[in-house]
């Protein structure tokens, strides 16, 4: 792999994870905030809210994981390595 390709791959891998975690981070914050509000308003529904929250948090987390998969491909299985 020539040095330009490897440098670009490393930068792109960092950007893929870094930029990719902004959106899910905001989303997880909003979702958790909503869940806390729901629990404060209706403490008896805590179990149900927690289950739904965990499931939806994992969905958002998987968006970051897509970025991570791209980063891993660039680092370990780079198609442009030639």
């Amino acid at each position: 792999m020539d040095s330009i390709t490897s440098a670009a791959s490393v930068v792109a891998a960092g950007l893929a994870v870094g930029l990719g975690s902004i959106g899910p981070g905001i989303g997880q914050g909003t979702a958790s905030g909503g869940a806390v509000e729901g629990i404060a308003r209706q403490p008896e529904a805590e179990g149900k809210i927690r289950g739904t929250l965990l499931l939806s948090l994992a969905f958002m987390e998987s968006l970051t994981i897509y970025g991570l998969v791209v980063a891993l491909v660039l680092l370990f299985a780079n198609p442009f390595a030639g």
Binding site: L55, I65, V69, L72, L75
Partner: protein
Amino acid sequence: MVPLSFPLPFAELEVGRHLYWQIGGLKIHGQVFLSSWLVIGALLALVVAGTRKLERDPRGAQNLLEFLWEYLRDIAREYIGEKAYRDWLPFIGTLFLFIFVSNWGGALVPWKLIHLPSGELGAPTADINTTIALALLVSLAYFYAGLSRKGFRYFEYYVEPTPIMLPFKIVEDFTKPLSLSFRLFGNILADELVVAVLAFLVPLIVPLPVMFLGLFTSAIQALIFATLAAYYIGEAVHEEAH
């Protein structure tokens, strides 16, 4: 493919290095087969041991299996619906148990003690081939579920509520297996990588909380895979109440 390995004191992290088996013109990843056979064997042993002598008051393994069955039945019933869930409970249950035991087995069993000529044993779900196979099975399952229950009326689902939705629903058929497989693969591999990098930096104690977090997320991922499979099947068999 650039095989890369970090020399670590306790565990070696290898990405892209496999134990290749040559079968005909195919090169297959042997370590994935070995570890998934071990997982399947462990599950079979548990189920056989738990159902050998059934008692009215369940104890031990039978109790655990009944708990699991009820848990999986609740997932299937909630997402597939009262009418069709019985047909799909075995499929959903198998997916959940296989993924769950694979994930936890990959994290909890000291695989490093078993030496392979190349590559190392680990969670079968940390290989993208396994997760893609599972996700394609889910795709086949929901097509089969929809077609067998509704016949060609199944394709009405693509133009509901308006025909404008047609391209989106077709694209959805491709993105469903893609996101299912990448989500599982990425999560499990990311757990392993994070633990390995932390163990590389600080070999003692510090990686432990991350390991527990990894166990938690991999259990959640098994639940999500099973839930989504149930949801897709339920979407396919769902009857519009006219």
